[in-house]
């Protein structure tokens, strides 16, 4: 009986409010969703290239609480899926020719119970720079397991392209706006490995799968995303 006491105590206290997570911002109770994300993320970046930023932010996002549920079919996957969370942020380019990551958020609509979503605000507020001087590069988020970008991810980044532009001129040339979904197949949930990410680039309509193993990176084109007259999308696989 005494072994169950902490559990019973916890249950009798009800469910606690969500704990603050370092680097993650969210609206307070009964407050509306954040419509801007603060930036930059303290202690992260700035980065000289978007490649450096991707390689650094992948393990950072996946190490947030319950950011990964492991491999589909592995032991406890269903339970870990149920408690898993998505986190999202922007990677943006500053007038100082650096790439910065915004703070993360895990704000999500409560309509359906355990919906794994992340409501990414369209804008970043970095008080060091005028709002119009920031250039939006990648919408970053995690998938709790290895999965392609969803129709909602595709629709989101296509709309962001209409707001921010589909290409950004940087000191190193043009960079294309993209949506990124990091994943890990690791069962080490404290320090999951960054095993890769899916990327959708609306300017080229490509969906790419990136894999990371033992320090090496590889890429495969999954296919091209096409839009239908009704507004939906489908994937023409390679």
């Amino acid at each position: 009986m005494h072994r169950c006491l902490p559990v019973l105590l916890l249950l009798s206290m009800g469910c606690p409010p969500p704990k603050p997570i370092p680097g993650v911002v969210r609206p307070g109770p009964r407050e509306p969703f954040l419509e801007k994300l603060p930036g930059p993320m303290p202690g992260v970046g700035p980065f000289d290239s978007y490649s450096d930023a991707l390689m650094a932010t992948c393990p950072l996002i996946l190490s947030k609480p319950n950011a990964t549920a492991g491999r589909v079919g592995s032991q406890d996957f269903q339970l870990r899926w149920r408690v898993s969370s998505e986190y999202c942020a922007w990677l943006y380019y500053t007038p100082d020719h650096k790439y910065e990551m915004s703070m993360l958020t895990d704000q999500a609509r409560p309509n359906l119970g355990d919906r794994k979503t992340c409501d990414l605000p369209p804008f970043v507020d970095d008080p060091r720079y005028p709002a119009t001087s920031l250039k939006y590069i990648f919408a970053l988020h995690n998938h709790p397991f290895e999965d392609r970008l969803s129709d909602k991810d595709i629709g989101f980044i296509a709309n962001m392209g209409l707001i921010h532009g589909f290409e950004t001129n940087t000191r190193d040339g043009n960079v294309r706006l993209a949506a990124i979904a990091f994943f890990s197949n690791s069962n080490d949930f404290e320090h999951p490995s960054c095993d890769g990410f899916f990327e959708f680039i609306p300017a080229t309509a490509e969906m790419l799968k990136w894999t990371h193993s033992q320090g090496d990176w590889g890429m495969r084109r999954v296919g091209f995303v096409r839009q239908l007259p009704t507004g939906g999308y489908f994937l023409e696989e390679d």
Partner: protein
């Protein structure tokens, strides 16, 4: 006694997860009971071109059970009368895709991002339903929730990428390998390792510069 041994066998972290899972946002009550038949495998709604209503002049005919399934999915996903945060919380702001397999009607519900401009955009939203022809929700998958069956990934190892091109487009990477004298990069080499710019094998010079 039995509960104690179960708790012990689950281990501390897993037990905490179990407790936490009970503390997730409480779901809205669905007008129709939601089953969880995990043996149902969902079709892929995104890898084939759907036929959209209005694409041709021909009339579209929908039988009653399909219409019923769409209505059940729509009312479960967004119960009429629930609080609306912005325009994407409306039934008419969704796209509905239907695939019928025998007595099961699969319905996918996802925000139609061309319908309106919401205040914030939800990544990975939507839901998929397996609904019987007699109107029961046999299984519901929320967001990108997997159905538990492995996805058949196409063969091929992909192209090795130097670190300074991580995140670049396919054409940029192909151009990099062509400039390096490896025009067929991306075609896996059977027994010779992966191509690298200097003609060696993978693992010798993969960082490729800044």
């Amino acid at each position: 006694m039995k509960k104690t041994s179960v708790a012990r066998s689950m281990g501390g972290p897993l037990l905490m997860l179990t407790i936490l899972s009970a503390c997730l946002r409480s779901p809205q009550s669905s007008p129709v009971p939601v089953g969880n038949n995990s043996s149902i495998r969902f079709p892929d709604f995104s890898n084939r071109r759907p036929i959209g209503i209005g694409e041709t002049d021909a009339p579209y005919e929908l039988d009653g059970v399909t219409l019923q399934a769409i209505m059940i999915a729509a009312n479960d996903y967004l119960l009429p009368g629930t609080r609306e945060y912005d325009c994407q919380d409306r039934q008419e702001a969704q796209l509905y895709r239907v695939i019928r397999e025998g007595d099961i009607i699969f319905v996918s519900v996802s925000f139609n991002s061309s319908f309106c401009k919401p205040k914030t955009y939800t990544l990975d939203g939507g839901a998929r339903y397996a609904i019987s022809t007699d109107g029961r929700i046999l299984r519901r998958l929320i967001g990108i929730e997997p159905d538990g069956f492995p996805r058949e990934e196409p063969p091929g190892e992909g192209i090795p990428v130097p670190k300074h091109l991580v995140g670049a487009s396919y054409e940029e990477i192909r151009a990099y390998w062509q400039d390096a004298g490896v025009p067929d990069a991306g075609v896996p080499l059977a027994d010779e390792g992966l191509p690298v710019p200097d003609g060696g094998t993978a693992g010798t010079s993969r960082d490729g510069g800044t």
